[in-house]
C-alpha cells in the first residue's frame, strides 16, 4: 500500500548524508560529529537530553566536542516519519505515511476534515497513544532517534516535541506567570531559574509587553489570541526542539491569527515547526513546505509554492482550488 499510494512523497528516501554518528544536528551545527558510539541501545535516552539540557550530557558522552557546546546556536532537528500508521481501535486513521520535516522549516499539513492530519501530528510527540484504544506503528525519527523505540521515555519525547492545541487552554487555576512556569515546574526546574525563563519564553512568544504588568492575573483572563500565545510561551519555556501546532488559529480572529503567524516565522530559527491547518491561505503564508493528506494517506508534499501553483497530483489540485473538501 505504501509505495504506490504515495508516489510524490519522500518514500524510501535514504537518511540524509549529513549525519554520520548518532545525533550530530541535535547538538551542534558547526561542531565535528561526536565520536562513534559503541552501543545503540544505551544511547537512545541520552540522545534526547542534549537538546533541551545541553550541559550535563555533553561532558559524559562527547567530552572532546563538549568544549564547543555553549557558543553554538541551537537548532531544531529534522523529523522523519517512516511507514507511520495510526489506529483507533481497529480503525486505521493514518495509513502508512512517509514524510520528512526539514530542520528549522515550517511544514504545513493540509487536507479535508477527518483525513488524519491531527492524528499524524499527535503521533510525533506520542500524544496519540494517550487516547483509549489508540496505537501507532512505524517510525518517527528525530534526526536518527526513533521516538517509538522501546527504550525511549515518552516523557522525554514530549519535552523535546512541544504541542499547541486548537483551542487555547491555559491552566484555569493558574496566573499568567504560573502558566508559563507550569511546564518548568512540572519538569522539575528550580525556583531560582523560573523568573528569567518565564520572561524569555513570554518574549519569544511576543507576549511580554502585553502581560508584563499583569503576570499575577489569571491566565484565562487574557483574550483568545493572547491565551494562545500564552500556550506557545508555556511550550517554549521547556525549550522544545520541535513545535507541533494543531490548527492553532482556528479559534482566533484575523488579527490574532496574524500575530501567531508572525510568531511562527520568527520561531522557526529555533525549532522545527509542523502546523496543521484548514486555512490554505495560512499554509501559503507561513509554510516553507506543504503536505496534502487525504483519507489517511500522504498524497503530495513539496515546496509550498509548488503545491499551490503546480501540484503534481490531480487530487491536490482539486483540493487547493476548492473543488472539494
Amino acid at each position: 500500500m505504501t509505495p504506490d499510494a504515495s508516489p510524490h512523497t519522500t518514500a524510501g528516501a535514504p537518511a540524509p548524508p549529513t549525519t554520520t554518528g548518532a545525533q550530530a544536528p541535535l547538538m551542534a551545527t558547526g561542531a565535528p560529529p561526536p565520536p562513534e558510539r559503541t552501543s545503540a541501545d544505551t544511547d537512545t535516552n541520552e540522545m534526547l537530553q542534549p537538546g533541551h539540557q545541553p550541559a550535563p550530557p555533553a561532558d559524559t558522552t562527547s567530552a572532546p566536542a563538549g568544549a564547543s557546546m555553549p557558543s553554538v546556536v541551537k537548532r531544531g532537528p529534522q523529523v522523519r516519519l517512516r511507514g507511520l500508521r495510526a489506529f483507533y481501535g481497529s480503525a486505521e486513521q493514518v495509513k502508512g505515511v512517509d514524510l520528512e520535516f526539514p530542520a528549522n522549516q515550517v511544514t504545513a499539513i493540509i487536507g479535508p476534515s477527518g483525513c488524519g492530519k491531527s492524528t499524524m501530528v499527535r503521533c510525533i510527540n506520542r500524544m496519540h497513544e494517550e487516547i483509549l484504544g489508540a496505537r501507532a506503528e512505524g517510525q518517527v525519527l528525530l534526526d536518527d532517534l526513533d521516538l517509538y523505540d522501546g527504550s525511549v521515555d515518552v516523557i522525554a519525547v514530549r519535552r523535546a516535541v512541544g504541542m499547541i492545541f486548537q483551542k487555547p487552554n491555559p491552566f484555569p487555576t493558574m496566573s499568567v506567570f504560573d502558566n508559563v512556569a507550569s511546564g518548568l515546574r512540572l519538569t522539575g526546574v528550580g525556583r531560582g531559574e523560573l523568573r528569567p525563563r518565564v520572561e524569555a519564553a513570554l518574549r519569544s512568544a511576543g507576549l511580554w509587553e502585553e502581560v508584563a504588568d499583569r503576570l499575577s492575573e489569571p491566565g484565562i483572563g487574557l483574550s483568545g489570541g493572547q491565551q494562545q500565545r500564552l500556550c506557545i510561551a508555556r511550550s517554549l519555556a521547556v525549550d522544545p526542539e520541535v513545535l507541533l501546532m494543531d490548527e492553532p488559529c482556528s479559534a482566533l480572529d484575523p488579527i490574532a491569527t496574524l500575530k501567531i503567524e508572525e510568531l511562527i516565522a520568527s520561531l522557526k530559527r529555533r525549532v522545527t515547526i509542523v502546523i496543521v491547518t484548514h486555512n490554505m491561505q495560512q499554509a501559503a503564508r507561513v509554510a516553507d513546505r506543504t503536505a496534502f493528506m487525504l483519507s489517511g494517506e500522504m498524497i503530495e508534499v513539496g515546496p509550498t509554492g509548488d503545491i499551490f501553483t503546480a501540484p503534481n497530483d490531480p487530487r491536490t489540485e482539486e483540493y487547493v482550488t476548492g473543488k472539494f473538501g
Binding site: 514530549r158 523535546a160 484555569p172 500556550c231
Partner: protein
C-alpha cells in the same frame, strides 16, 4: 390587539389561541405550587430548629458535659460539650480515612482504570455501597471490631463505621467532578512533558478542587448526622474524652437519648444539640468554600 392594519386572516393565524393560554397558565401554576410545597417543610425545619434550639443555648451549654441526672424537673442536666467534641473528633478521623482513600479511588477510576473491567467492577461496588443503610456499616464494625475482638465500644470504631459510610459518597462525587476536568488540560500538561502523577497533582486535582470539596462536605454532613452506626460502635457516654480508644459521645446519639426523655429541659437540650450540629456543618461549609475559592472549573 395591535393589528397595525394587517390582513384579518393573518392576524387570526398569528394570534395566541385561548387554549394555549390556558395550558400555559395551568402548567406554570402547577410548577409554582410544587416549588412552594417543597419549600414548606424546609422552612419549617429551619424555623423550629432556631425557635426550639436557641432556648437551650447558653455559654454553659457548650462548656459542660451532660450530667446524666435527667429525672427531676429541677435537676442540673448539663450541656453538650462531650457530644460536640466527640462528633468533631470522630468525624475528623473518619474524614482523614475516607477522603484520601475515596479521592484516590476516584483518581484511579478516571485517570487509569477508565473502561477497564476491574474499574467497572469497582464502580459497581461503590454504587452498591452508596445504597447500604448506615446501620449496616455500624453492624459490620460491631461484629468485626467489638464482638470480634472481644472488646468494647470506642471512638475510633465509630470513626471507622462513619468512614465506611463516607467512602462511597466521596468516591462517587469525586469521580464525577474529575470527569468534568477538560481532557485538553491533561493533554496540554502531558504535552509539556510532565509525568502523569504530576499532571494529576498539579493540574487535575487543583482544577477540580472546589467540586471535590463539595462532595467531601456532603459526605461529612451525612456522617456527622448519623446515629445508627455510632450506637453500638462508639457507644454513649457523658464524659468528654480526647482518647479515641474510649467510649465517645456524639451529637446525634445525644439527640437520640435526649429527645425521648420525659423531662422538658432535656428535650430542649436535644433541640439545642440539633441546632449546634447544623451550625457546625454550616461553619465547616463556609471555611471550606473560602479555602477552595481559588479553584474554578469552567
Amino acid at each position: 390587539m395591535s393589528a397595525h392594519g394587517a390582513a384579518p386572516d393573518r392576524i387570526e393565524r398569528f394570534a395566541v389561541s385561548p387554549r394555549r393560554r390556558r395550558a400555559d397558565r395551568l402548567a406554570r401554576s402547577l410548577v409554582l405550587a410544587g416549588t412552594i410545597i417543597a419549600l414548606v417543610p424546609l422552612v419549617l425545619v429551619i424555623y423550629y430548629l432556631l425557635h426550639e434550639g436557641l432556648k437551650a443555648w447558653s455559654p454553659s451549654f457548650f462548656t459542660t458535659d451532660p450530667t446524666g441526672n435527667t429525672f427531676f424537673k429541677n435537676s442540673t442536666i448539663g450541656g453538650i460539650r462531650s457530644a460536640m467534641l466527640g462528633t468533631i473528633e470522630m468525624v475528623a478521623l473518619a474524614s482523614a480515612i475516607a477522603v484520601p482513600v475515596g479521592v484516590g479511588v476516584a483518581v484511579w477510576l478516571v485517570e487509569y482504570g477508565k473502561a477497564h473491567p476491574f474499574a467497572q467492577l469497582v464502580r459497581f461496588f461503590v454504587d452498591v455501597l452508596t445504597g447500604v443503610p448506615s446501620i449496616v456499616f455500624g453492624l459490620f464494625i460491631y461484629i468485626v471490631l467489638v464482638i470480634g475482638t472481644g472488646s468494647t465500644f470506642a471512638g475510633y470504631k465509630g470513626s471507622l463505621a462513619l468512614s465506611l459510610l463516607m467512602l462511597p459518597v466521596v468516591t462517587r462525587s469525586a469521580e464525577v467532578v474529575l470527569l468534568l476536568v477538560p481532557g485538553a488540560l491533561r493533554e496540554s500538561a502531558l504535552a509539556l512533558g510532565a509525568e502523569r502523577w504530576k499532571v494529576i497533582f498539579r493540574i487535575v486535582l487543583p482544577t477540580a478542587l472546589s467540586g471535590l470539596v463539595t462532595g467531601v462536605l456532603l459526605a461529612i454532613a451525612r456522617a456527622a448526622g448519623e446515629t445508627a452506626p455510632l450506637l453500638f460502635t462508639a457507644g454513649a457516654t457523658n464524659r468528654t474524652s480526647s482518647n479515641l480508644g474510649q467510649f465517645m459521645n456524639s451529637l446525634p446519639v445525644q439527640i437520640y437519648n435526649d429527645v425521648i426523655s420525659p423531662t422538658q429541659s432535656v428535650v430542649n437540650r436535644a433541640w439545642g444539640a440539633a441546632l449546634t450540629l447544623v451550625v457546625l456543618i454550616l461553619i465547616l461549609n463556609l471555611v471550606a468554600r473560602l479555602v477552595s475559592r481559588r479553584s474554578r472549573l469552567a
